[in-house]
Symmetry: C2
């Protein structure tokens, strides 16, 4: 088992350990996705849910509940809920980003249309809401309602601050908390809440999810700049072309001189870009070690995630979650 | 008072009678609309909420709670929730319909962009969700979760069946239940639920909202075909041009001969329309009395709404709600 853990990716190990639960989640998702009157709904939703997603968020909920010794049945609901919310936000994001690819496949808005992406997203969100009510836990509903508001607010904030080169790291952190960390932390937190765990455990798992989510998104943003496009399943420099200010850009911009600032003003604020500009952007990031400094930030957040687990008693899953935090940032080694 | 009631529109009478509560709703809506980080949110949302909307849905909730003798504070929450949900669906609808006007003003997606409409809609929906949790009533949460799912499903269904001239009245009813009646019935039902009313009263108010919503939407669809564009605040024939099959079209199509069917196939299914086609469509509707028959359906639903109130003890508000059902269909006299 120990040697297995060294060879396998942590989320694959989690999937294996939680296979029975994950199968139950898949079953519930398919049951609840179905619409009697609108066959297009499961068609679109399963395009996304099957599209090679690692189901990381539902795994976090299942892992959290298992770690807290949960004996009931609602962890399956909760894991399905977070996957529904995640899928709904992906559908809406694709409309907002006008993206062409998602997980290496054509995005839903390209295969169908923006209308379907908006409405099927709404449908999945309302389905998740019904599942929440079924758990009968107002505490769970409260956490997920707050997470939903943070997600939506983060998305609007991102829209407001993109194209604005004065965006700083504090704002960036708010954006990615909404974009990613809010659902990660809700996913781990509800697993502990449904288990009736004590406050310190609930808080520890919340903090683990939050820090893991922040690390995950920083790495994602880094990969967009410097990752292998074959592995990440989308084109390099998408964020630059969409004039979206992620951490490596923010670090480079905050260090640059007046001449260089003019470059960012032209490309990001005015959106006047040539095909060579992304290379120039990369060179400026290298000059100010923006990529390396972003990587160090991601490592710091991974460490925060691991440290937060100190409050949780030792067990198999804790080991995997610790490795998962390392693995998430290992992607940019 | 009795003579006043004869001169004033029923929803104006309700607004007057419930002014204190409605002011509290406005206050709560403004408080909860605010986003610390994203000033665009209240900007967009208030464009809609202020745009001459009659706040009919929150009024229904307040009226229902008052009629049921509610003494608590959560009717303000519930009324704000239904207005938030309504505004969120309007924002998403405008993206889906690619509409240029809403309540006689440019729609939000035209003033800002589709992105903002999608995300601010999501934000308002998540805010409504937080308000629901604050009521602490799982029954209320259940009703609103189910209403949300019906709304989303109805919207997707509408997308699927538009441009399909085999759409029948049964499907149409499902679409408008999602589009309009689900939120009307939830609005009246939660007012009774929060008051702890008995089952017969809760059901009666649910049915009132449902039938009123159906009547309201049938009339809305009728006005699009035959209403005065200055009064309705949008162009005549929008549904025809958007190839959306509403009740007058469905009635005309189901009666027509083969030649006429070819007209509908060309204009609705193929979308091959000339500027004269809407007039031809109107003539076909007149030939088969589709407009008159649609009006009779609306009257029938208004009667159902009024009859459902039989189960409710007599009082001032019951009288106004009865008049409201008449008023809603009077728009097409």
């Amino acid at each position: 088992m120990a040697s297995d853990q060294n060879n396998q990716k942590p989320h694959d190990l989690l999937s294996e350990l939680l296979k029975k639960e994950l199968d139950a989640v898949d079953k519930l998702i398919y049951e609840r996705m179905i619409s009697e009157y609108a066959p297009r709904i499961p068609e679109i939703a399963s395009h996304l849910i099957n599209a090679g997603g690692k189901k990381l968020r539902p795994l976090l909920t299942l892992a959290s509940a298992k770690m807290c010794g949960y004996k009931g049945q609602y962890h399956i609901h909760l894991a399905s809920i977070v996957e529904f919310i995640h899928t709904a936000t992906l559908l809406h994001d694709d409309v907002v980003d006008e993206s062409k690819k998602r997980r290496g496949k054509p995005s839903a808005n390209l295969l169908w249309d923006n209308k379907s992406s908006v409405l099927v997203g709404d449908y999945l969100f309302s389905r998740s809401f019904q599942l929440m009510v079924e758990t009968g836990s107002l505490e769970v509903l409260n956490i997920l309602a707050n997470a939903s508001a943070t997600i939506a607010e983060g998305e609007v904030l991102q829209l407001t601050v993109s194209q604005d080169i004065s965006t700083d790291e504090e704002i960036y952190l708010k954006v990615i908390r909404g974009k990613t960390a809010a659902l990660f932390s809700a996913a781990t937190q509800v697993g502990a809440v449904i288990s009736g765990s004590e406050e310190t455990i609930i808080n520890a798992l919340y903090e683990y999810g939050d820090a893991l989510g922040v690390a995950f998104q920083i790495v994602d943003d880094l990969l967009d700049v410097a990752g292998d496009s074959k592995i990440i399943g989308k084109n390099n420099g998408d964020d630059f072309r969409e004039r979206k200010l992620t951490l490596p850009f923010i670090k480079a911009i905050s260090s640059c001189n007046q001449n260089e600032k003019d470059f960012w003003k032209r490309t990001i604020e005015k959106g006047d870009q040539t095909s060579e500009d992304f290379n120039t952007a990369l060179k400026l990031m290298q000059k100010y070690e923006a990529i390396e400094r972003t990587r160090l930030d991601a490592l710091k957040w991974a460490k925060t995630a691991k440290n937060s687990l100190d409050a949780v008693p030792d067990n198999d899953i804790k080991v995997i979650l610790t490795n998962l935090a390392d693995y998430v940032v290992d992607r940019v080694k």
